[in-house]
């Protein structure tokens, strides 16, 4: 019998379909999880009425979004306005390709020597979509939101890259599978070697995904809904789905880089990967429902005055120790 998955084209097509299903399914699970976590933190039951324990709430939400009319504001740039949600969502699918979900080669969408670079590059395209919404919506709130999104992403990509780079220094590889391979056994997880890099990465990732307390581009008390003010129905749904998908991407990359990927104390496998990703997602949700929002200049101050110098220092120290060891 021919192993179909070994044919590259079929492998990629299967992987892409699987990723889309994974994103959709995760979106549903995460919406439910977010609302239940918020409910728990806020001492209320959260979704409760639709289905047992409110389990069907995300389905009801999705159906509502699908059923809504798509409208565009008067004077909007139609091309930019309608293509922005797609451009926001499409690159995230590619981001999942190089992520090793489990030990078997079939659980990685595509083995790439520059897998890490691919993830970082494609996740950067999201900003472009926010830019388009800001210009295309013909709305001042959207414009302000987009302006914030751009400067925030540009600023926080630097410490994020520097933090990731220190791991790349240590392992000598940009291939995520190889990075995971290099940290077998809990004690070898990079988080213990590079705690500072992990903290910097995680803070930057929170800012990159526009999550609270860094959710300035959509700060609802200032900019009503920020960049997606004018979007309704499924166009809004796509932004929403993309946000959650990017959260999974950054948490997956954090898991692969710092937490040993699918490696665990017992029974290595994809469940460990998923467990770690969801644990990190839980932390992100915990942030969101606990902290007030920072101000814009404070946000940039944290980046330029703290994260970038610290990550540069971390990188230099890493390089120094690696030189010392070899």
């Amino acid at each position: 019998m021919i192993n179909f998955l070994s044919i590259p084209l079929i492998h990629i097509i299967v992987a892409l379909v699987a990723i889309l299903a994974f994103i959709g399914l995760n979106g549903v699970v995460l919406v439910y999880m977010e609302r239940k976590v918020a409910g728990f933190i806020q001492r209320r039951p959260g979704p409760y009425e639709v289905g047992p324990q409110g389990l069907l709430q995300p389905v009801a939400d999705a159906l509502k979004l699908l059923g809504k009319q798509l409208t565009s504001p008067m004077g909007a740039d139609k091309i930019l306005f309608w293509s922005a949600p797609i451009i926001s969502f499409a690159p995230v699918v590619v981001c999942f390709l190089p992520i090793p979900f489990g030990p078997s080669p079939n659980s990685t969408g595509m083995e790439l020597n520059l897998g890490l670079l691919l993830v970082l590059a494609f996740s950067g395209i999201n900003v472009f979509a926010l830019c388009m919404t800001g210009w295309g919506s013909n709305n001042k709130y959207s414009l302000l939101g987009a302006a914030r999104a751009v400067s925030q992403s540009v600023a926080y990509e630097i410490p994020l890259l520097l933090a990731v780079l220190s791991i790349a220094f240590q392992t000598g590889s940009l291939n995520l599978s190889e990075i995971v391979q290099s940290q077998q056994g809990v004690i070898h997880w990079h988080i213990f070697m590079q705690p500072l890099a992990f903290i910097i990465y995680f803070i930057s990732a929170t800012a990159e995904t526009n999550r609270a307390p860094f959710d300035l581009p959509e700060a609802e008390s200032e900019l009503t809904a920020g960049f997606h003010t004018e979007y309704s129905g499924m166009t809004f749904g796509l932004f929403f789905l993309a946000e959650y998908a990017y959260m999974i991407v950054v948490c997956s990359v954090a898991t692969a880089l710092f937490l040993g990927g699918w490696d665990g104390p017992f029974f290595d496998g994809f469940w460990w990967f998923l467990f770690k990703v969801y644990a990190l997602m839980l932390v992100l949700m915990w942030f969101r429902w606990t902290y007030p929002r920072v101000r814009f200049d404070q946000l940039l101050n944290i980046c330029w005055k703290w994260l970038i110098p610290l990550s540069v220092l971390n990188l230099i120290l890493t390089a120094f120790f690696i030189k010392l060891v070899h």
């Binding site: 302000l144 307390p213 929002r293 814009f296």
Partner: protein, 389 residues
């Protein structure tokens, strides 16, 4: 034009077309219309702001979206008929408005209020003040992007509303005070529940401080934001926690004690710098002071009538005028009545503290970031129905 074909005016309404931008060096400013439906304007306040980047060059509040002609209604209704209106001026501290109105009419007509009624008024009014401050606390943090505190505040607020419901029969727009007393005597159930609430709420305030007040992000958003100098505060006629945040211990309950407030031992919390953090601290400290007042009032609650038994059948104040002020959660509430000797006031003027406090916003927000302006607006604790009246 076909009848169903409406023309959409894109050039703006009366206020936006007459807004005069101050302009900037680069000449590149953006005029942004915040409200009347905006998440952080708390109701139907509208602000036209001129932005240079994210810095505010000029802000202009536009009022009148919830104007209900309360003052005119006072002229066409009898004194008694007008009473329910008072619960709807400031729906968050309705009892203070109740009190200001009945106080004014009592002073004008010369109606005696039994001691027990005065104590009941103090207890319920202070409970209502805590209620109002709690809602402000939650809503302010919501403005700063923290979603969770408001739900904690609502847990406690719910308890107060349940307690007040026992005697007043309503939960928000109270109409409890009557000329010469209150409409119903307080029950044992009310007293017990209030005592329970006092012990419970004393454990809650430290928790609020632990969870929120010390938070680094919160302090970054409040400290040195919207610094209000004493002179400016006086010029604009600011009262209440806004004025006390700037360091002036002006509280009607202490300065011109009405009712039985001079019998209680409580402090007037004041701030030092007059920034948003000071206003925050003042309000949170006031909740503790209100607890102290309620405790003392419950201990020394006298027996007697809850309403003056010898009331005239019809309230017909003699010719003359009267001004009566009480301390509301937002500041000095004043009611000025001119009577021509008939059953209806000749003229009635409501002095809303929020109206004076709001206009500070235009001055305080100049040159700040949009996010800071939201913080300043929240820290002024505005209730729009009270401002528009």
């Amino acid at each position: 034009m076909k009848p169903n074909e409406s023309k959409f005016e894109l050039n703006g309404d009366y206020y936006s077309t007459r807004f005069e931008p101050s302009g900037s060096e680069t000449g590149d400013t953006l005029i942004l219309n915040m409200g009347p439906q905006h998440p952080s304007t708390h109701g139907v306040l509208r602000i036209i702001v001129e932005l240079d980047g994210e810095y505010i060059k000029k802000a202009e509040p536009v009022l009148g979206y919830i104007h209900r002609m309360h003052e005119k209604m006072g002229e066409v209704k009898t004194y008694m008929q007008y009473l329910p209106n008072m619960g709807r001026v400031d729906y968050l501290h309705a009892l203070a408005w109740n009190w200001a109105y009945v106080g004014a009419v009592e002073k004008l007509t010369g109606i005696e209020v039994p001691q027990r009624a005065e104590y009941i008024r103090v207890i319920t009014c202070e409970l209502n003040r805590i209620c109002s401050h709690l809602l402000w606390w939650g809503a302010y943090l919501l403005d700063l992007g923290a979603f969770t505190p408001i739900l904690y505040a609502f847990v406690d607020r719910e308890k107060i509303m349940d307690i007040l419901q026992i005697v007043t029969g309503s939960r928000l727009t109270y109409c409890y005070y009557r000329f010469g007393g209150v409409s119903a005597d307080i029950t044992d159930e009310f007293i017990n529940q209030t005592k329970e609430f006092l012990t419970y709420f004393k454990t809650r305030i430290p928790m609020y401080h632990d969870l929120v007040t010390g938070n680094m992000i919160l302090r970054g958003r409040c400290e040195d934001i919207g610094v209000l100098s004493v002179e400016t505060a006086k010029q604009y006629g600011a009262t209440g926690p806004v004025l006390r945040g700037s360091g002036i211990a002006y509280d009607v309950r202490k300065v011109e004690p009405y009712s039985v407030y001079d019998k209680f031992d409580f402090k007037i919390p004041v701030g030092q710098n007059g920034d948003a953090m000071d206003r925050y601290d003042v309000r949170v400290a006031e909740m503790t002071e209100s607890l102290k007042i309620i405790e003392q009032a419950l201990e020394s609650l006298p027996d007697g009538h809850y309403i003056n038994p010898n009331l005239p059948d019809r309230i017909m104040p003699p010719k003359g005028e009267v001004y009566y002020a009480v301390e509301g959660a937002r500041g000095k509430i004043g009611i000025y009545i001119i009577s021509d000797g008939t059953a209806k006031p000749y003229r009635l003027k409501l002095r809303a503290p929020g109206f004076s406090n709001l206009h500070l916003f235009a001055e305080l927000s100049q040159g700040t970031l949009l996010s800071d302006a939201v913080s300043i607006l929240g820290s002024l604790d505005l209730v729009i129905p009270e401002i528009d009246r």
